[in-house]
Chain length 710, copies 2
Amino acid sequence: MRILCRFVPASKQTLTPLIGLRSFTTTNRTTSRYRVARSKHVQPGMASATTLKGQPLDRPVLDSLLRRRMFYTPSFDLYGGVAGLYDYGPPGCALLTNMIELWRKHFVLEEDMMELDCTALTPHEVLKTSGHVDKFSDWMCKDPKNGEIIRADHFVEEILNQRLKGNLEARGQQVEEKEVDPAKKKRKVKETKAIKLDDAVVQEYEEILAKIDNYNGEELGELIARYEMKNPNTGVMPEPPVAFNLMFQTSIGPSSNAPGFLRPETAQGQFLNFAKLLEFNQQQMPFASASIGKSFRNEISPRAGLLRVREFLMAEIEHYVDPLGGKKHSRFAEVKDVELVLLNRTTQLSGKTNVETVTIGKAVSDGIVDNETLGYFLARVQLFLKKLGVDQTKIRFRQHMANEMAHYATDCWDAELLTSYGWVECVGCADRSAYDLTVHSKKTGIPLVVRETRAEPLVIEEFAAEVDKKKFGPFFKKDGKAVEAAIAATTQEQRESLAKDLAQNGKIAIEVPGVGNGTVEISKDLLVIEKRTRTEHTREYTPNVIEPSFGIGRILYSLLEHNYWTRATEGNDESRGVLSFPPPIAPTKVLLVPLSGHESFKPIIKHLSHKLRAMGISNRIDDSSASIGRRYSRNDELGTPLGITVDFQSVQDKTLTLRDRDSTKQVRADEATIIKAIQEVVNGEKEWKDIEKELPAFEGQDAEVAIPIR
Amino acid sequence: MRILCRFVPASKQTLTPLIGLRSFTTTNRTTSRYRVARSKHVQPGMASATTLKGQPLDRPVLDSLLRRRMFYTPSFDLYGGVAGLYDYGPPGCALLTNMIELWRKHFVLEEDMMELDCTALTPHEVLKTSGHVDKFSDWMCKDPKNGEIIRADHFVEEILNQRLKGNLEARGQQVEEKEVDPAKKKRKVKETKAIKLDDAVVQEYEEILAKIDNYNGEELGELIARYEMKNPNTGVMPEPPVAFNLMFQTSIGPSSNAPGFLRPETAQGQFLNFAKLLEFNQQQMPFASASIGKSFRNEISPRAGLLRVREFLMAEIEHYVDPLGGKKHSRFAEVKDVELVLLNRTTQLSGKTNVETVTIGKAVSDGIVDNETLGYFLARVQLFLKKLGVDQTKIRFRQHMANEMAHYATDCWDAELLTSYGWVECVGCADRSAYDLTVHSKKTGIPLVVRETRAEPLVIEEFAAEVDKKKFGPFFKKDGKAVEAAIAATTQEQRESLAKDLAQNGKIAIEVPGVGNGTVEISKDLLVIEKRTRTEHTREYTPNVIEPSFGIGRILYSLLEHNYWTRATEGNDESRGVLSFPPPIAPTKVLLVPLSGHESFKPIIKHLSHKLRAMGISNRIDDSSASIGRRYSRNDELGTPLGITVDFQSVQDKTLTLRDRDSTKQVRADEATIIKAIQEVVNGEKEWKDIEKELPAFEGQDAEVAIPIR
């Protein structure tokens, strides 16, 4: 069976749901964008996530900080909230803005990409062609008793894992907490029953779990029935799985005959503008378009915080390249020495997760990464994530297995970031071949191709079939067109053989469904088939597309975890959270703190705030009555890298102290020097250690001195 | 009748549709965001729009330029397009990005606003409370013959205007092209019939047209019936108008019992986060939140290009202020001398459109603008629009008429920009009082208030009513609660009188619907009513909100018209389009042009491109074979302010020429000097006239010398 859309079964042996989320990759759904990595992809020790300083990461504590400091907050909280919808508060929003600005500079500006802003509202027909209408769904079951709606694959996984756990308990063995998809972790279910299973059954269960991503709805239904899986919450078996399309449907315009969807990805608008962009680029190849915008997916039961949401920000690039000539990239040399941590296909096939650190130059020349253009973007993604402040020990590029990829895809790698939820797919980089342009062109009849003058005209020798129009039409009458089309559709091989027939027998037989008995005879006075030579001056081709696709919200969440750590304070039992964002990314750059509420400090603080604003440096005044130490630690939680304290000495000699968030060390200098230091740090030109060397240290009012970590 | 939502009838005399779009103002729909100003608001001469240089503006020519250069393009063009949906292409997208960046700097950073990123998906209940579910609709009619769907008010307007035109023709009078709402302009209708009308009928028609915004659906239906208005396309009368809600509906989650909408504005998410933001701001007032994001409105038949679309970018500010103390603003003094062109309510009431230029300081002190905070934002909006490059002769602030505003609104002003479509409402600034917080608080039961310790405790003397619980309950039995509630609901005036009754008669009579005959007697042994004194230490209040609301797409379109002009060229009949954006806003800053395809130019161009990129200055290389003049004029259409030409002299002595888009003049200097000049112009620190004075002029390769205009 030919697969008509970009989605692909995870295994060619099974009729899989075909629910891949192409925007990140071209894989089936559960191993794609939404996959919070399964245990099989998880490295040993992963379950115990760590902070920036290697401390055990206490997610509930971090989460409480993030909500308290309003990095994010459940949307419509006042009305009880809606699962899978979150608002970003002031620091989260500023972080998002800084991330997007860096993305634009790093990709759009640097590569001279053509950015588009396309609509989220998308008519039915477009997503029908792309395959989303038919295939972009998950299998869900309804519980007949309480009406609960459950994702079928999650349900099977949950029940079997519970039974296996119960078996271990019954055998008196220690139960190891397995890494479970967080989307299933939180469903409230009854306690595990300790029931011993036969060894054969254990093996069956384990085999099913290993293949869980490969079952279609019918198969999941059979598993539920065969193993009598009952919903622990109700004690009854759920109804058979039905497909649930994950797109939000709506109607465009006043009549109901214009169904539409909210886009589940930002790529289609870019593909549809291909011809205009090529024209805009004065017909020059290669080129890339880019788009940043919201996408929408109606998750069945979203959990896992910011990692699995119904409305999310994406940034996608569609880089068009000539499929011939090995997909070289003119700037590959600039990145060839960038080192990446790769988890390749072969390693995964052997059931391992060993990674290797290798330069992208070597990865491409060794054939691990398919081509230079794909390799170039992998390296650029790596450099982008590094600039953002992603922990370099918590990033890997995982290659898709052959059965994860769409049939048309050449190669696909995910940048995965390690978090307390496991390895999270944050950027997908796929070589999607000519698929997308081809389907839209085929559907609309509008060519989406590049035409270029050949340096050397191409001389083609081929079998041509030509009918004698004058005789052909009158002979076949109403069937003429069908017969002619059948002739035109023959391949070169067929024509070669038909030419022989025609020469030997004076006639040929050709299959024309629907005409006569389905086979039509044509004599040589109606048709000539012969080898001819023609010269082609223009080359026409459908470009291939390399698609790096970024889940901005997921990167943002990973960034929060990667930059978080806790600091113990002297004379204080509680440890305090710090978010050590790189200064260029930090939501607020400078905290302005008057020593006290004394009137003489006010004009200085106001002046500094105004001066920094004029330079585009975001700052925040904290003139509350809390202690200096407490005010600083409040802003350490916000990730503010620098702090200025105004004290009585400032009033006298105009000097200021500057404090570093990470070391809590301070320097003291005159205003101009301090402002210059701030600007250099905020622009990423200098680090604190440079400032510390240049300016005199200050030991002062930071009452609660930090205890150095380890 | 109390109006339950933020929308308001345009006239209190009629039962108006109540379809105002609050995000821009609080008015009824047709005079609000979507109103492309009616002729009554149009100043004489408006119909003949002009370019930046005062030339007559040929909109189709401009439009063709904008599409050719991909400022915007109809979405899903390949599939035939969808009315009201447009994509921004590379220059449009860059313009949008620069506008947003300026908006953030000018408002969010400057005012230390708390930016939020809220979801577009919104549950039904939230928009039910806000009033959108019930009232956010237009009246539409269906043609029974061809199924065409028509906006009822537009239809009546169109038919009556046609008849009036036919009357003039029949009388042999010259027909003046009236400025018609563009949404109606493009509907294909048959030619006007020249039929003479009675003078009385003409008067009736004109009165209807003057009041067209005030009719509800039933009234519009009556007008259609009474005057037998037939659809010119079918010759039959449309069906009676029905309300069509303008929100896109969808369903959130897998079960169908969670209806939701795409937000029609970005304000609700901000209101719902009020309490968290107040906490984030450490309980300090005043403060503002801000939000930039897409909103969605399902227009019945969107036309007028970028001015009336179904998906659009908004930027909204919600500034919370204490309703007491005259709504002063601490930074008002900074803007008090900013001059605004005002069209106030009184002038409009007298049927005129005379504007006055006045400082905001005077406007507030004269009571034309209600308060300092509102005035502050009007001035800040003016400054923002000026920085953007809005033509200062094509901007006015129009005050809403009393009947345009919601009952709770204190004052409302729209920043309107003059375009070829007339005056277009681009920014609405409303003082919405405590309305929004109040309705959400009332619905959810969660207080949305500010609590502040009173500097002086407030001593309140008031009549208190207290029942003797021991006797009261047993006496009234099951009616006890109802009677007690009736007592509690009495006003201070009523209590004063009741206290007298109680003292004089030993009993009172009070109305309690549903108890006995509706009047209950209570004797003095059950009840005490007396003057008491209590002390309040904390003040609790619901803040008022001042809401500046920006239609970014509308501003962008106005900016395109305001900065457009055409330049005649020597030896060339055609005149060429120029878009003279201010350099900080221009999509691309620098064009890099090698004199020819000579190899020696390539490394210099590459080096310059790299250097500018590293400085964050967007640039574009045009090494096509077109003439230098043609390459420059192509980029004049894109609004690129500066151009560098690399010629043979550059190869020899490293000097470059720098060209100004607007004057086409050139200077020549070494690379460092040219780059510095570019940086200063792009940052808005210097203008071309400064550069021209500093650097030596160059007369050279710009083959097609421009002819100075006028």
